[in-house]
Each structure stands twice: as structure tokens, then as C-alpha cells.
Symmetry: C2
Amino acid sequence: MGEVFTVIMAGGSGTRFWPQSRRARPKQFLPLGADGTTPLLTATARRVSGLSPRHRTLVVTRADLAAATASALPDLPAENVLLEPVGRNTAPCVAWATAVIQRRDPEAVVVVLAADAFIVDEGAFVAALKTAVEVARAGSIVTLGIKPTRPETGYGYLRVGDAVEGAAAGVKKVAAFVEKPDAARAAQFVAGGSHLWNAGIFVFRADVMRDAVKALLPTVAEAIDGFDAAAREGREAETVAAKYAQLPNISIDYGVMEKVAEVAVVPVDCGWNDVGSWQASWELGAKDAAGNVVRVDRGNAILADASGNVVVAPAGKVVALVGVKDFVVVDTPDALLVMPRDKAQDIKKAIDALTAAKRDDVL
Amino acid sequence: MGEVFTVIMAGGSGTRFWPQSRRARPKQFLPLGADGTTPLLTATARRVSGLSPRHRTLVVTRADLAAATASALPDLPAENVLLEPVGRNTAPCVAWATAVIQRRDPEAVVVVLAADAFIVDEGAFVAALKTAVEVARAGSIVTLGIKPTRPETGYGYLRVGDAVEGAAAGVKKVAAFVEKPDAARAAQFVAGGSHLWNAGIFVFRADVMRDAVKALLPTVAEAIDGFDAAAREGREAETVAAKYAQLPNISIDYGVMEKVAEVAVVPVDCGWNDVGSWQASWELGAKDAAGNVVRVDRGNAILADASGNVVVAPAGKVVALVGVKDFVVVDTPDALLVMPRDKAQDIKKAIDALTAAKRDDVL
């Protein structure tokens, strides 16, 4: 019986946590979860370590993030870090990682997830993954479906269909993948009870995914076959460096999941959070009595009539908030952000201005 | 006829401009006026330079602020800087400076003012001082009375009495010095038209003040006589160092002005501002189209939907405000302050917390 491998996709480069996140240090390397000290990538690897110990955990990331990855996961074997010379969305990433795993264990079951989410109830999450692994062993491609807790318009949804025969109770077929809805439809989805959030967490047998990619994304499959051939000659890295940029920019959702005949879904209610903004970081964070999430050296935060804030500052910095309510204050040595928490989505405006001004030094 | 000397009192140690102001760099050394670049002390000396060129301008300050004073006024002769070993309120300060001036010119007229105010209409201010100098030559102690523009409860007031005979039009006798009023009385004062703000700007002949101090503050007069005697032997600095701390902690207002038989007042409407808080600095400062006062390196302020703010940051720092209205954001290398502008008086709470925590490193 094949072993369980986990692929953590850690190539993201979001700007929603600027100025703490930078191009060279994106969100997955920041301690945005509840404890305020563990990088999201580190927490993600730890969360699945019962299923996949380090030697069966692979991280796919951008070549320029190799050092940051090694720093976040110092005990990850070097051969388990797959470096993309350029970002190419998730289909090439999943296909390549699946091929690498298949070489090690032809019967492997693969769990794919993003590096930069946070999970409140790790027990429920891991239990759902274990169920998904069993369903995948039988040949299905499986996804986790997160029970929605609010009418979120920023996520895709899964419409739940019939039960999967022979699988554990609660495992269903995906009746449809649903694009991000408007507010009214999102509210219907939450009320109706037959829609789940698509969190991009997939489980499959390596050979099953390989066949699906061959059928649905033949150019990707061909390139990956080339990587396999190069690997046999010990020159995979050079081949990837030369060819990866030619792979199509397509997501695994769109390229494979939505097109295969049947996807199974394991519903789970585990407090999944994609940590999409400073607002989410505040929601997740441990709070003081006044509802502040404070990531400042002990004794260096001076909070006078200050409540509901997120406060982040580098080592040694004193930060005083006086009469400030529901704000985000994030200081770094070379850049400072101040905004009301409910304007967290507007951080894009600051990023756009810095981009227009070619301020690569602080992006 | 005696020359006009100006005494600038620059020993203040306010905390209302923290974190830009520190114990070692109090408000008078900060560029809080309209241009955002000239320290208040420098602007004060420049403002009176038509009356008192540098060789007739004296600065009284704390011994530990000698270097900062020399930096703000590089062309001030060293012998014109009087260093108080400890702060002792304004009566000893004025009495000592008057004695030093009297040695240089027994008929001198002395202008005394604080280093840390801002004046919008310098022409009106200097014209009023010139009038005051003429009245002082005739033997009166004179004060400038500022026409109140709002029912300020933070200042003392002067009640205006009869005209001074033989003086220029508008020069009156002070009928009474009035303590800081409550809001209702302050409103009456502004509406009534017979009260002026006491800005602590005094003009007098050196010999007249000397006599007044002898009559009203004999212990101060005796100590100052001792300084004169020591000066004749070339050891004034040692004597001041040994004796200054024994002088009574008393203001020139309380100790002399309120007790002499007659004080004349020259009313003036010159946009005087004591720059008492970050709110005042915003009021005075040059604003962008959205009403922001921005003291950040050119190109380093990212203001998205941000209006009515004061933004201060050190060289090289990028500051982004997104959706922030009417805030004070003051960054320094080791301390950051964020507060709504209308809470500027509450900065005291942050200072109190830092003081209680013995954070002398950032005070």
C-alpha cells in the first residue's frame, strides 16, 4: 500500500500583508496564525506531519524563496524542495510534484494544499484528510470541502451531490464547482447547506492524477515526462530551469478538477482560514483584554484607550497607540502601514502606488 | 540710550511632541512651525534679529542642552548662552539674564520670550515689540497681550485697564492677571473684548527689573548679586553651578509681574501659537490638497484616501496611510506614535506609561 506524501504549495507572492510581507518574504513565511510566532508554512508542515513525516513532505516554491523555505523548515530534506524557476499556477506545480513522488513510490497517495492557510481545529482537519486518503486509495480524486461560516464572496464553492458508495459516511460526490458568487448567492449557499468552500486541498493517488493530467493537459504531461527522463539522467534541475517557463499558466482546479468525471468531497468544519488580509490575522490572533493582537516586543507596546487593533513592530521598537480603535499598525525597519482594520482590502491602493513609483526597494 | 537685548528662554522639557521630542531634544529644537524645517528656537531668534542681532541675543537653557542650542543657533556667541545647572522656573532665569545684560549695558532694554512659540504675522509681532520697547524705556514693565482667537482654557489672561498716558495709542495698563479660566469664563473673555492672552512675553529696562526683583524676591536678588560679584572675579560659572539649585522655583509672572504696581500691555493680533500639541502643529503646518501635514522624505509618503493627518517619519522611511482621517502618525527610529488628532492631549497617557515603566531609553 502506497505511503502518504504531502505537497505544500509555497510559491505565493501576495501583497496583502505589506509591509511585513515583501516579494522576498511572502505571506507563507510570516507568523500570521494564532500564536504570532510560527510562520504559516512551518505550521502547515507541522499540521500534516502525522500523515506525512518530513521525508514525505514536499514543498514547491519559487527558486528565489529557497533560503526562506530552508529557514522555515530546517529539517526538510533538500531533495524535497522543488524550485520553480518562474511561477506557473498550480497545474504544472501539482503535476511535477506528483511525478517526483511517483518515482519514489508508484502507489503513493498525495495530499496537496497551500502553505498559507490557518486551521483552528487541527484534529478535525487531519481526520478529514485521513478519510480523504482512504477514498483516494480507491481511485477517486478527492477534495476537502469547508463548511462555510459566512457568505464569503472571495472563495469558490463546491455544490455537494450524492454519497460516494462504499466510502465513509458523509463523503459525497462534487456535483459542481461554483465560481466566486455575488453576495446574494453566497448568502443562499450558506443558508442552503449544500455548498462548501473550495479550499484547494486535494488528495489523490499519484497514478490517478498522472493519468488525468495526460488526458486533460497533454502539453503539461509531455513536459513532465521530459522531467522524468531528465531525472533518470541526473539533470532534472537543468531541464526544469530550461523548460518550466513554457508550461501553461493554468490552475489545477480549472485544468483538472472541474473536468474529471468524478471528484469526491470530504466535508469538514475545522475553522479553516485563508488568512487573506490583516483583518483575518486579527480575527485569528490571540487578543489582549481590549481585543488587540499585539506582535511587539514585551513591554514595548503602549496601548492607552486602544482596542481592537493589530499592532506589529520589529524587535526593539516602542509603539504607542493612544485612543486608537480597530486599526492595523504594522511597522518594519523601512516601511510603516497605518489603516483602519475594515479598510484592509484597500491595502492594494498603497501597493499600486508603490508599484507605479517603482519602489521595488520596499515591495 | 540703552540697546535692546533679547532673552530667549529655551530650557523647556515638554513631552507633548513625543516621540519626536525627547528629554535630550525638547520641543524648542523641533521644526514644528509652518515650514517643517526650522527649529522653533532658530525661528524665534530670527524673528527678533531686527531688534536684537545675535550679539545682543541671550539664550537661557539647561546645561545638558548646550550642544543642541549651539546646533540650532550656530552664530550665537558662546558667552550669550546661559546654562542653568537645573531648571528653576522663570524668575531666577530672568533675573540672572537681566544681570548679565546689565553688566554689558547698564541702560539696556530687555525682551524676554519663550523659545518654543510660533508667530504667523511676524511684522505685527515685531511692531508690537518695538512699541513695548519704547514704553519700557520710560520705566514701565511691559507685556505683550495676544488678542484671543478662541476660548482657550489652557492660557492665563490679562484684563486690560486704562490707557498709559504718554504712550503710543492702544497701550494700556494691565488691570489684572487672570488665572486659566474655565470654558464659560474663557468664552466671556473672548466675547467681552477686554481680555488678552498672557503669552509670557515681557519687555523692561534692566535696572527697572533689577529693582523689582530686589523689592519682591530678595533671596533671588541676593543670589544674583553674588553671581555679579563672582563674574567680576571671572568665576561666575562655578558660582552658578554651586548656587543655582538653591534659588526658589518661582515664575516671573507670579513672583514679579503680578505684584509690581503697574504693568503696561501692548495688545497684538499676530497669530501667536504656543505649539502646545501635535494638533497645533497640524494647524500651523503647510498642508497638501487633502489637508495632510507631511514631514516625510519626498516620495516616501503613500497617502491613499488619507486626509487631515500629521505624518512624520525619519529619513528613508516609507509611510503608507490607507483610509486614515485626522490622525497623528509620528515615527522615529526607536518609537512610533499613532493617535487620532483630537486625542492629542492624551499623549500624556503614553508618557505616563513609559515613565512608570522606567523607559528612560525612549523618553
